[in-house]
């Protein structure tokens, strides 16, 4: 299995990506389908996860460089939307803080333990960043990865009709909300809708990730003072 892990992962991802390009339904999300198939495969053939993880490690090594590469779209977007940078920064800060303030106590009320709360806290930001934050909070990066992907799928699928339904009519606000709540998958959906949507959404995606890295440890530590 060791030497098959990488080619199998690539095969899954690129075939499901093809499928998604032909039928862009939210449920055909390539990451979701790849995860489901690979997990099924591992269970069916009774392969230990550690073997698969060793074989597919080169992909995981590239996660951190990919986060660094986000500097490029951040720089390009910041140039374009310079005038609105302050209100955007303010809005993203409010968004990230409210996500943390809501998600942590809600999970606690419903019986989540410490590691699950730490895994859920950064759920609204892009996967590689969220996993890094989870790790520093003492959570489970794999659980975070799954949660973040589901958040992205839900947000991308229902985000725009939801926003219109609650009276957010402005294109820039819609784009920002998609990026802030549903990270890369929301952004991908926003780009399909329009260029302007995409620009705001990817700016929110990156700013929220940075803000989350700062705010999550603070708010998490604050809650841990009160929640047993």
């Amino acid at each position: 299995m060791f030497w098959l892990a990488l080619p199998l992962t690539l095969l899954c991802f690129f075939s499901f990506r093809k499928l998604y390009q032909h039928y862009p339904l939210p449920l055909f999300n390539p990451v979701l389908l790849s995860l489901l198939s690979l997990i099924t495969l591992l269970i069916t053939f009774d392969i230990p996860y550690a073997d698969y993880a060793t074989g597919s490690a080169p992909l995981s090594w590239l996660l951190e460089p990919a986060v660094v590469a986000l500097a490029l779209p951040l720089y390009q977007q910041a140039q374009q939307i310079r005038k609105q940078l302050k209100p955007i920064l303010f809005t993203c800060t409010v968004g990230v803080a409210s996500s943390l303030l809501i998600v942590i106590p809600l999970a606690w009320l419903l019986g989540a333990d410490h590691s699950v709360m730490a895994s859920l806290a950064p759920q609204s930001v892009t996967t590689p960043v969220a996993m890094g934050i989870t790790q520093s909070l003492g959570g489970l990066p794999a659980l975070t990865a799954a949660v973040v992907i589901i958040v992205g799928i839900v947000g991308a699928a229902l985000g725009l009709p939801f926003l219109k339904g609650i009276g957010v009519k402005d294109e820039a606000s819609q784009g920002l909300a998609m990026g802030a709540a549903a990270h890369a998958l929301g952004t991908a959906r926003a780009i399909e809708h329009s260029e302007q949507h995409g620009a705001y959404s990817s700016l929110a995606l990156i700013l929220c990730a940075v803000l989350m890295a700062f705010l999550a440890p603070l708010i998490f530590a604050f809650y841990m003072l009160f929640l047993p």
Binding site: L42, L74, G111, A142, A180
Partner: protein, 115 residues
């Protein structure tokens, strides 16, 4: 080929810088985010040119989704946890997402300076 190697070299250099800073910080902070800020500062000061990084960054960003599949498959080790704590997971995914979306959308719609 040279342009891709150069792009990856710059990205890795920024990441190493980020790791060094993260190591010196008195608290836990994702080194990759610091690396991103290092590169962002590099662009803004003109030390790093956008077209030096573009060829490598393009591929990393385009196929970013692929990169977290191996770690996501690790969920296989936490099935018991998911089954035991599904109400918290479900509530936080749904409520968290829509509340954040509503707040961000409405706040920006109110304060956005339109011309």
């Amino acid at each position: 080929m040279f342009s891709i190697v150069r792009a990856f070299a710059i990205i890795l250099l920024a990441l190493v810088g980020g790791k060094a800073v993260a190591y010196l910080l008195p608290f836990n902070f994702p080194a990759s985010i610091i690396g991103m800020l290092v590169l962002f500062i590099g662009f803004n000061t003109g030390v790093v040119k956008v077209h030096w990084v573009q060829p490598g960054a393009h591929y990393l960003l385009k196929y970013m989704a692929l990169l977290f599949i191996p770690i996501g498959v690790g969920l296989i080790n936490y099935f018991d946890l998911v089954i035991a704590q599904w109400p918290a997971l479900l509530a936080s995914i749904t409520f968290g997402t829509f509340i954040v979306m509503a707040i961000v959308g409405h706040v920006f719609q109110r304060i956005n300076p339109r011309d």
